[in-house]
């Protein structure tokens, strides 16, 4: 799938996935991205709006049952708002591991089948540290999209140079810093937590209230 595509992630989605990673610092975390395709009127180029993030798990990434169940339930819930699964995010377990794992690619491939502009976001532990320790304002995720040879490529490199990710609201950075200082990550719930205790809300509906 060639052509440029602009990816825009809403503050809510971005903050959720960062908080999820911060809650489970000693393990890998992953989650789904929910959103919609937008056709930038007139300009002819497509765009993807990532409206929300659903944290999935913080252990045993690479097992299917909870992923499949989450996909069903996420589609069910968000379908009513005309949103669907448009991507996937992951943060690796080891600090120096900046590779997109096999499991991530597989999950990405699966999502791609239903949404050809699927986005894979890989959290960079280095940028996350820079954010935490030195309050550096750079997005802590790297965007990967499927190129014409069916492999996942980092955006901004190769042919897809105009594929990029922007965070919609400029206030995202200061909100994130706020939440970090108040240790807001304690409140985030992922699908794993829900399966351990169904009274926990994987939609995190009250997180930002």
């Amino acid at each position: 799938m060639g052509g440029d595509c602009k990816y825009e992630i809403r503050q809510e989605a971005y903050v959720k996935l960062v908080l999820h990673a911060l809650k489970h610092r000693a393990s890998a975390v992953n989650g789904l991205l929910v959103g919609r395709l937008v056709d930038a009127a007139g300009s002819g180029s497509a765009g993807v709006q990532i409206v929300d993030a659903v944290p999935l798990s913080h252990s045993q990434i690479g097992l299917l049952p909870s992923l499949e169940l989450a996909l069903i339930q996420v589609e069910e819930h968000y379908g009513a708002q005309d949103l669907s699964v448009v991507g996937y995010y992951q943060a690796n377990e080891r600090f120096n591991d900046e590779q997109l794992s096999g499991a991530a690619r597989k999950i990405g491939d699966h999502i791609f089948r239903y949404f050809p502009r699927a986005a894979l976001l890989l959290l960079s532990n280095n940028y996350l540290e820079a954010l935490l320790k030195r309050k550096v304002n750079i997005p802590v995720v790297e965007l990967y999209t499927r190129n014409s040879s069916k492999s996942w490529e980092r955006a901004g490199l190769g042919l897809e140079q105009s594929t990029e990710l922007t965070i919609k609201e400029p206030s995202a950075f200061s909100i994130l810093l706020d939440y970090i200082s108040s240790e807001k990550w304690q409140e985030i719930v992922d699908f794993d937590d829900h399966l351990d205790d169904i009274s926990k809300d994987w939609l995190n509906s009250n997180l930002f209230k």
Binding site: A26, A28, Q60, I61, G62, L63, L64, P65, S66, E68, L69, I72, Q73, E76, H77, E93, R94, N96, D97, S101, G102, A103, K106, H194, L195, D196, D197, I198, S199, D201
Partner: protein, 301 residues
């Protein structure tokens, strides 16, 4: 492996201490017993005790255990100097101890000086070749360096000798899963189930791996192990209940059109019912999603 009730207790203690209600020592002991990794809190609560001579003397012999616990927590939080101080204190008290030697090795690991850590461990192993903790450190180090095949190799060698180390089997299974080597992970869980057939966690983990592997036979076996999990947990395990439903559906999809003996649909309908009951009681806002999910799997009308 922390049970739900234990985790609630631990969390309650944690907020109690956070809010100045005391109980730090109780928290630290519980964290140690449950082997949870809450290094930031351990450091936060433990260091003041160590820095206060009166509080320290109240601990008696336990003081040294606290030094060890705080040292490890400090390393986990990259507070190298604090860790170093603790270890130095321990070395003075227990010179030549392999237990403290292990901490020294870990300190080198925390600093990223893996070659030095390796040297420390080899030294200890020369005198005590069967030191389990050190052997496991070598696995941890391989894992930390991203050399998962070395970690797997070391862990397999370790298990040849210490084959009743259940945690090691679990660790190996988890590494295999992270590498998508599901068959090998399945083997580990099979061993664990043989060792401890009444631990539901192993049945559940085995079922999840089998489901991931897919294929009719694996799904049928997965369903059996989800069922045994339900049995062993008195129907309280949500994952197992969902698992039975998902297996039943996947099997029906695979066996479509083929003449198969009518498998009793009781198990999955019971599981579906149990899920609905649980959700209605404890997660009413999600009942609609659950109903749609179960309907999609043709388990309810």
């Amino acid at each position: 492996m922390v049970g739900a009730a234990e985790e609630v207790h631990l969390n309650r203690l944690e907020s109690q201490v956070e809010n100045g209600g005391g109980g730090a020592w109780e928290y630290l002991c519980l964290a140690r017993k449950l082997k949870v990794r809450r290094s930031d809190k351990v450091l936060k609560f433990g260091l003041p005790i160590l820095n206060d001579p009166r509080a320290r003397s109240k601990l008696g012999g336990e003081e040294w255990t606290l030094y060890e616990q705080v040292a490890i927590a400090a390393m986990d939080c990259q507070q190298i100097d604090i860790a170093k101080d603790c270890i130095t204190t321990l070395l003075k008290r227990f010179p030549g101890s392999t237990r403290v030697g292990r901490l020294n090795g870990m300190l080198s690991e925390a600093k990223g000086e893996f070659a030095e850590a390796e040297r420390v461990y080899e030294q200890i192993l020369e005198k005590n070749p069967l030191d389990q903790a050190i052997q496991k450190r070598k696995v941890a180090m391989a894992k930390a360096r991203g050399d998962l095949s070395a970690a797997v190799e070391l862990l397999n060698k370790y298990l040849e000798i210490f084959m009743a180390d259940y945690d090691a089997w679990r660790e190996l299974a988890e590494i295999y899963v992270s590498q998508q080597m599901y068959k090998q992970a399945a083997f580990c869980y099979e061993e664990l189930i043989l060792f401890q057939p009444t631990v539901p966690l192993y049945h559940l983990a085995y079922a999840e791996v089998l489901y991931t592997m897919g294929g009719l036979e694996n799904l049928q076996t997965a369903k059996k192990y989800y069922a045994s999990t339900i049995d062993l947990t008195g129907g309280q395990n949500t994952r197992a209940l969902y698992g039975v439903c998902m297996c039943a559906f996947a099997i029906s999809q695979l066996a479509k059109g083929r003449s198969k003996e009518q498998e009793s649909a009781d198990l999955q309908s019971l599981a579906a019912e149990a899920l609905l009951k649980e959700y209605k009681q404890r997660a009413p806002d999600k009942v609609a999603i659950l109903t749609a999910t179960l309907r999609g799997m043709k388990l309810i009308s």
